[in-house]
Amino acid sequence: MPYQQIKFYQTGSYVVGNRLLEEGQRSVQSDAHRSNSLTCGHRACQGCGEALGARYALDTVMRATGGKMIAVNATGCLEVFSTPFPETSWQMPWLHSLFGNAPAVAAGVAAALRAKGRSDIRVVGQGGDGGTVDIGFGCLSGMFERDDDVLYICYDNEAYMNTGVQRSGATPPAARTATTQAVGPEPGNVFSQGKNVPLIAMAHEIPYVATATVADLRDLEYKARRAMDFRGARYLHVLVPCPLGWGSASGDTIKVARLAAQSGLFPVFEAENGELTSSTAIRRLVGVTEYLRIQKRYAHLFRPVEQTETIARIQAIADRNITRFGLIDDKTMTQDGSPAGSVPQAQAVR
């Protein structure tokens, strides 16, 4: 009988498939009866962070809702690679309307369910950073403001990947994209631009806001499940590296996401009603250089000449996040294994 050897890359007690764990501690992915919401056969690239994040998030929501969930998807990579006509890889009810309206469409689905007395069926809206941060922003804010009963998940790969890697409002400074090329006096995306949508979501004081990355999939599962404990508007912002757009190796997706979090560039936290309730401390603090170096979208920062000033500015962003969100605690180590020293709890995040 043919067999396929499955390699488990996670180690330790919480590895997927560890049957010694309590049921509640096991990953949804370890459940043979998981919904497999985004099943195999989709056309995502090798190493696509979004495919990974979406599957984990949605399987968690499906478990939390007993399979009673409807998803609304914005136009973008996820929508395109998951529904190549005439196939679909979605195992639950799924609606794609337009690029900029997923939050509003999701609000409409939720309203219909409520009118029909079926609020037991829950609604997820989802899209990439383009459809969330830019063109969908008005609808997103409207959904937040009305406190519509929708969990919105943004899969952030920091550019318009589906259309060829153009800059979005989520593209970080100095990153090369097709519309912020590595040319001219300030190569790559400029500084002083960009939107922090998790903070904007918090400013709407909606019941639950959280960030996560595909480096810590158990944490992503936890946050998706936690979000479903609430009713009303909820927002989950997930960092999902795109090997093609970021110029990282397709096998490095999880590593790149980990470095984004461990450098402080991508703070991982939760908030309720506008107040920070938890932040995930960095375990092994790294300088931003380690993160930037393995992505070709930042290659111009290292060759032909290392752009120390620009890298320092990026480091300053990371340092600010560390302070702002309290990302260093007494367990944080530096690269050489020594403690990083603790920093007072999160300041300045209202």
């Binding site: 609606l95 794609h96 509003a104 469409v105 409520r114 009118a115 609808c139």
Partner: protein
């Protein structure tokens, strides 16, 4: 029950009787009274179960409608003018997805220049979106058409736009018979979706379709419009059976039997035209009116039959297609395949300029004598327009055209600077 009622209120009451489950709207003049009345009805509980969402833009309004309709709810929204344009992407999306949304378009001009008054440029701009477009002649017909619209939409899985002239119908107080709930329930059964988001039977809606199937999917849209040509009259007939009056249908002929000159018009202007036609008939001119209720689908065959005995056609155009000719005229000419009748587009009532009986009379007498231009702008202040054109020929930096012309006719802000 017969009431003396503002058009918007009549429509709101009709919508309420149709048992909508989700209403989403963004306010824009002159639709506001409709959605205000409905929001109050939902808020007091007199309309339930129904969710009313105050959305952040018209784009959001149509998007919420899409989501709600796909989840199986009967959905209503309303807009006009700039709002219809702003939701245009979603308007096309709704039709493409086959969602039976009903929307009031309180016909209003599109800017620039910004103008809040009535003409048909808004609904005309969406005539290719795949929606069914029905035009009401009176407040009574406006309320009746909404009831018929839900039935037509849900039967065909095609969204329906009910067009009613902004201000002229929305803000006029006139007599209307408001049906009772029992009549409406008899006419309009609960919505049974053809496609629906249901965890018990999951489907994916909104696939990307490439060259291999796009044409065929779009062909279905055309097929549905052709089905609508059959369904609209039969629904109107059913309506007459239950409510006891003629409302809706494809066309409304008036004194057409031996008419040499036929005036084709959409919407409320038909009323004024009929008064003028009666007067001219009294003077011996054989003139008739062909009202078009269903503009999309355009009833080519029925129009051809109605114009069989005519010598010439005058098309009242309540919108301008710059660089082209009349919009309604084009469809009329397409209908007249075997014999090309002289068809005169008359651009009238743009941006709320009153279409007066006096001007119609003069124009129709000219038309009857084949003395009309190939394209007529009714009541054009030619010297005002010419003055601006002359200005632009004489110098480069002439400033904003609209402001120049307002200054010429001595309106507010004339004389500043």
């Amino acid at each position: 029950m017969l009431k003396q009622i503002e058009g918007s209120q009549a429509v709101a009451q009709a919508i309420g009787l149709c048992r909508p489950e989700v209403i989403c709207a963004y306010p824009i003049t002159p639709q506001t009274h409709i959605v205000e009345a409905l929001s109050a009805a939902v808020k007091t509980g007199s309309l339930k179960p129904c969710e009313f969402l105050n959305v952040e833009s018209e784009f959001a309004a149509m998007s919420v409608a899409i989501g709600a309709s796909a989840a199986g709810a009967r959905v209503y929204t309303a807009t006009a003018s700039q709002g219809l344009l702003y939701m245009s992407e979603a308007v096309w999306n709704a039709a493409g997805l086959g969602l039976p949304i009903v929307m009031t378009v309180a016909n209003r001009a599109i800017g620039a220049p910004i103008n809040i008054w009535n003409d048909h440029s808004d609904s005309m701009s969406q005539r290719d979106a795949g929606w069914i477009q029905l035009h009401a002649e009176t407040s009574q017909e406006a309320l009746d058409l909404h009831i018929q619209a839900f039935r037509i939409a849900e039967e065909l899985s095609v969204p329906v736009m009910v067009c009613m002239d902004g201000f002229i119908l929305t803000h006029a107080c006139e007599r209307a018979d408001i049906p009772d709930q029992q009549q409406v329930d008899q006419f309009l059964p609960p919505y049974l979706p053809r496609q629906v988001l249901d965890p018990a039977d999951p489907v994916s809606i909104g696939a990307m379709v490439g060259p291999e199937a796009f044409t065929e999917v779009r062909y279905i849209a055309q097929a549905r419009q052709l089905q609508a040509l059959e369904l609209i009259p039969s629904v109107a007939q059913d309506f007459r059976g239950i409510f006891g009056r003629d409302s809706g249908g494809l066309l409304r002929p008036y004194r057409l039997e031996d008419a040499e000159t036929v005036v084709v018009a959409l919407g409320s202007v038909q009323g004024t035209i009929k008064d003028v036609v009666d007067e001219l008939r009294g003077e011996g001119l054989r003139i008739g009116v062909l009202g078009v209720i269903s503009f999309r689908p355009f009833p080519f065959q029925a129009v051809r039959a109605a114009l069989a005995g005519a010598t010439r056609v005058v098309a009242i155009e309540r919108a301008l297609a710059p660089g082209s000719s009349g919009i309604v005229t084009s469809d009329i000419r397409a209908a007249l395949t075997e014999r090309a009748l002289p068809t005169y587009p008359v651009i009238a009532g743009l941006g709320g300029r009153a279409v007066t009986a006096a001007s119609l009379r003069t124009m129709l007498i000219d038309a009857h004598a084949d003395a009309l231009e190939p394209l007529t702008f009714l009541d054009l202040n030619r010297s005002l327009a010419e003055r601006e054109l002359a200005r632009t020929r004489a110098a480069r930096r002439t400033g904003p055209a609209a402001e120049n012309m307002l200054r010429d006719i001595g309106v507010v802000a004339a004389g500043i600077g």
